[in-house]
């Protein structure tokens, strides 16, 4: 199989280039893209990429594989390869540190902005703040996010305004804290989001939904935030 990989080492290369490498795929096996990267690295040890858990938990190997963002470790070749060719690029829209490694600072900054922790100004109970099963259920489909950035880097609005638009991942987390029954800062959180960029740059294209490797739905969460803003603003 032909693997074409985006290469860029700022210390050596003046411009990025695509490197074509022929990789032998063991017959009868549906390898994951991450395994293929391992095979490539055996041939060319200078290739840089991130990975850790190799089972879709840590979120460190988000890549653009044949044009679609996803986690290399849980994406089987059969799901992305066409015409026996695999094109691997770093997540789009973020600065490249080297080869497939991107600088996630802007992405984390947006995450930080939504204050991803419980805020509660009522006196803490002796042991812990309890939550009914029904309230707990509201966090399903939100808390599972592993911050892999596949969604935000697939979102045109995030490409154009990565410093102003919070992006699908950050907004999914914003909603996760907005609906949490143990958080009392709903009003403050909403007023932080009521500008023309943070939430309202979402154009509902749903690229985020189609790439999320955890099957989450940021667009729906963004819709919920908009409704909360609407009901507090009308």
């Amino acid at each position: 199989m032909l693997v074409s990989i985006y290469r860029y080492n700022p210390d050596v290369d003046s411009v990025p280039y695509m490197q074509d490498i022929q990789v032998e795929i063991p017959a009868g096996k549906d390898l994951m893209v991450l395994d293929v990267l391992g095979l490539v690295k055996e041939q060319d040890a200078t290739l840089a990429y991130r990975r850790s858990c190799r089972e879709g938990v840590c979120g460190s190997d988000g890549l653009n594989m044949n044009g679609t963002n996803g986690l290399a470790c849980i994406t089987p070749l059969s799901a992305v390869v066409t015409n026996d060719k695999l094109v691997l690029r770093p997540l789009p829209g973020l600065p490249v540190v080297r080869d497939l490694v991107v600088d996630m600072a802007q992405f984390y900054k947006q995450y930080e902005k939504i204050k991803p922790y419980l805020q509660n100004d009522t006196p803490p109970p002796a042991i812990e703040r309890l939550q009914s099963p029904a309230d707990r259920e509201k966090l399903d489909g939100l808390y599972e996010c592993i911050l892999c950035a596949c969604c935000s880097t697939a979102c045109p609005s995030f490409w154009w305004n990565p410093d102003k638009f919070v992006g699908p991942s950050g907004l999914l987390q914003a909603y996760r804290f907005l609906v949490d029954s143990r958080d009392t800062y709903t009003e403050e959180r909403l007023s932080d989001l009521d500008d023309p960029f943070s939430v309202f740059r979402c154009r509902g294209i749903m690229n985020c939904v189609s790439v999320c490797p955890k099957g989450l739905n940021p667009t729906r969460a963004i819709g919920h935030i908009r409704n909360m803003l609407l009901s507090s603003g009308t």
């Binding site: 609005s157 154009w160 305004n161 102003k164 007023s191 932080d192 989001l193 009521d194 500008d195 023309p196 960029f197 943070s198 939430v199 309202f200 908009r226 803003l229 609407l230 603003g233 009308t234």
Partner: protein
């Protein structure tokens, strides 16, 4: 909170609402016009001018005209802040964006004044 002074209202929610409401107004005006022209295909100048001299029609037309202005402003402002950015144009982006926004603003204002003149002149 991201601040901005050139959008319609400083509130994303308000702009969003304005764009939806004006879209409904514009759609109903368009459908009304389409229906009117369809059912009175052999329309005369007198009929046409009578229609536009009705108070309700003037209100409707004026509403559509203002809606067009507001709708276009929110849309063009969004386009300018999506594509005319520092990322695309470097340091001069601010000037380019401002000039673009100013041109859009003047154009919409012109259309509005001109539109009123036409409506009242019929």
């Amino acid at each position: 909170m991201v601040t901005n002074v050139t959008n319609l209202s400083r509130s994303g929610l308000y702009d969003w609402m304005v764009q939806r409401v004006t879209a409904i107004v514009l759609a109903s005006y368009f459908l009304f016009m389409l229906g009117y022209l369809f059912f009175c295909s052999d329309i005369t100048y007198t009929q046409w001018s009578e229609l536009h001299s009705q108070t309700w029609m003037r209100i409707f037309s004026l509403l559509a005209l203002f809606s067009l202005g507001a709708h276009a402003w929110v849309g063009m402002w969004t386009i300018s802040t999506d594509y005319l950015t520092e990322m695309a144009f470097g340091k001069s982006a601010m000037v380019i964006r401002f000039i673009f926004q100013a041109l859009c603003g003047v154009t919409m204002f012109t259309y509005m004044v001109w539109g009123i003149q036409i409506l009242w002149g019929l």
